[in-house]
């Protein structure tokens, strides 16, 4: 391959460009067909009045009326709020938990391979199976968790209701989702930890640094690009949570866990408000985009390349 270097950019030859196009073509085609086109169609649908069950009618433009409706809909705004709270709990929980696990696995641990396998198993488990298992485990009346809490002296009236309580259901869901998805973040953190030069720890050891100081002065700064990547990806993923909520609580009790993705689903498929649900989805997209942009801007303060 002939490579011509410019002062700033390495350019491909026309032949190399063709070869590159050949390789990315299939992905690009799939991306256009299954991501871009549906996205544009969704935006289009959000601008028309297609809010009844029946023949697909997209000839009546109402422009931003569906968006205005979203801002006036107290229930929709509450769902966005719940999603935001869910995201806060989930992202904080998973980043801390996966980092902790990665730090543990980065040592010479007895049964390390078995531990890694066990961490990975929830990630590949079926969400319905996860729902059923956790429903049994967290049964406030007959479940083992509350039985254990009662055994250690927690009074019956103080036992948590877990998935059945209005206040406890959303944090419980966030906790289950953390458990389910720990594997990916742990593995990525583990890879980042293994890239940190051991000499730095040795030097710090010589200088008398303790474990916490090494963690905050060496480990966290050096893995900060990875942390940033995981935070961004996890935040985006958390706003798209649907399957676990649908399987475990279906938005209940009441609307305590009716996060925005579930709300959008109901508006579209239960009440046939197709344009309105597309407007809600577009607003969710803009919201996630705004959060991502803010995170991108703030990275200069704490991410060290």
């Amino acid at each position: 391959m002939q490579v011509r270097s410019s002062s700033r950019l390495t350019r491909f030859t026309p032949r190399d460009s063709s070869t590159a196009l050949l390789f990315i073509g299939p992905f690009f085609l799939g991306f256009v067909l299954f991501n871009l086109l549906p996205l544009f169609y969704s935006i289009f649908l959000s601008l028309v009045d297609f809010n009844t069950l029946g023949q697909i009618r997209t000839d009546r433009f109402v422009w931003l009326a569906n968006y205005a409706r979203a801002f006036a809909d107290r229930l929709a705004l509450a769902s966005y709020g719940r999603s935001f709270l869910f995201s806060l709990l989930y992202v904080a929980g998973i980043i801390v938990a996966s980092l902790f696990l990665a730090l543990l696995l980065n040592r010479d641990l007895y049964l390390r391979t078995l531990s890694r396998t066990m961490i990975y198993m929830p990630y590949v488990a079926n969400v319905i199976a996860i729902g059923m298992v956790w429903s049994i485990v967290l049964n406030p009346y007959n479940g083992p968790v509350n039985a254990l809490l009662a055994l250690v002296g927690v009074p019956e009236e103080s036992l948590p209701q877990w998935l059945l309580g209005v206040r406890s259901s959303l944090p419980t869901l966030a906790g289950i989702k953390v458990w389910q998805n720990l594997a990916f973040q742990t593995i990525v953190f583990l890879a980042a930890l293994q890239e940190v030069p051991r000499e730095l720890y040795e030097c710090a050891q010589i200088d008398g640094a303790g474990w916490w100081r090494k963690l905050f002065r060496i480990t966290l700064p050096l893995i900060s690009p990875t942390t940033f990547f995981l935070v961004v990806v996890t935040v985006i993923g958390s706003f798209n949570s649907f399957a676990l909520v649908k399987a475990l609580t279906n938005g209940g009790p009441g609307s305590a866990t009716r996060i925005i993705t579930l709300f959008i689903y109901e508006q579209a498929f239960k009440y046939s408000y197709y344009s309105y649900s597309n407007a809600l989805a577009c607003l969710l997209f803009l919201f996630i985009l705004a959060v991502t942009v803010v995170q991108w801007r703030l990275q200069k303060r704490w991410v060290h390349y």
Binding site: P14, R15, S18, T19, L21, L22, G25, P26, L29, L33, T52, L53, G54, Q55, I56, L75, S135, N139, P140, Y141, N142, G143, Q161, L164, G165, V166, G251, G252, P253, G254, S255, E266, F269, K270, Y271, S272
Partner: protein, 439 residues
Amino acid sequence: MRRFVHFWLASLLLLPVASFAGGGQEGKAGEQKAAEEKVVTVFASSKAMADNSWTLRNDAFEKETGIKVDLQLVPGSEEDFYDKTDIAVMGGDTTDCIRLTNPLNIARYVGAGFLMPLDDLLKKVGSDPQKVFGKFLKKHDGKLLYLPYEQSIHSVYYNKKIFDEAGVPYPKAPWTWDDYIATAKKLTNKDKGIYGSYFVLDWEYYYYMIARQRNISAYKADRSSNYDTPAFKEAMKFMYDLGETHKVQPTFKEYRANKYGWDTWAATGKFGMICIGSWFTGLLTDEVTYPRDWDWGIVETPAAGPSGKNNLMAGGVWAVLKKAKHTLNAARYAAWVSERWYVEGGGIPARVNLTEAEVQDLLGGIAGKSRGSVTVADLKSALLQNSLGVVDEKVTGPKAKEYTDIIYRQAELYMSGEQPLDETMKQIKEQSDKILLQK
């Protein structure tokens, strides 16, 4: 090389276009082929696919008509069935027949224009729906859009073993809900894990059952919610009290925690009584799916006071979808299956042409399959010849689906002890008015 690459990329981009084109050319030829095919396609849920009665029924249809029944599986729960069929039908799916089990879904599909008028099709296949279904037929703008396959009449089913062990005489009509509660209290035995009563707390109509029995509409004349009427508050409190005050059935949280469902009463034998539609006889006579070592009885629904001497009724229907590929086969299937649904599925058909002997046979069939649990006389007095009038089981009207979902969500909070009753009724009224009065 460049030309080859450009040609290849262009081909890739054009491939989807080419695959969608040319469909129209096979239109007429396809229609003719479809007309000749001895097949009918039917939407079926996962539960239906596993249901023995569906298999028996479809086998009987195939044997009698030579038309193969091809079930189109709609995966997922019963709850999600119509979410998916809505999209399939809107997207131009050519499945022939669909069963609509809920008045809300019937209203939605009629309103959406998804159903094919049956009048001419039924004439072509030699079926006379008026003769078979008579007063149970409903027309919309003068068109017959579906055929009723059952009339689901509520009654109370009871577990005779629980009654015998408690030494309580079997319930007799006429009776009231106070009598029901008193009976349930005598049956409840927490030590043995027995409750005297069971209601499917996932179904929203139970939370306004008492009000419906008094024939009070959920809508005011101006289309707003009638939920500020005291009867609805009383109805909501009735259901709460069963679990929390009288303690004769699982509380809502227990119900949810233990994952109880619509068939728990038949599957577990741990509950004394249940008030539910007559389709339930299908479960009680299906000992393959619901094996049991106890007998069951039946008695008419209790009255909700002097003004509440009404029974709740609903019914399922079969319809042919507008884009059906095999229209005549579909009409034949809809007519056939509506007429004889009860033979394999149990329940009471919505037919007017059954002779007294056939009614005796019908009820005798249920009695026979019940292994002597009930007699024809028991079934007749509970289901057909009782002291009650008839009202619609569910709220049907403008935006009924959203309205009833609001009722259910607020009921969930109240039943879980998370929200007081007055606040619950206020929220239902406010939230539903917002939906109902929206232009």
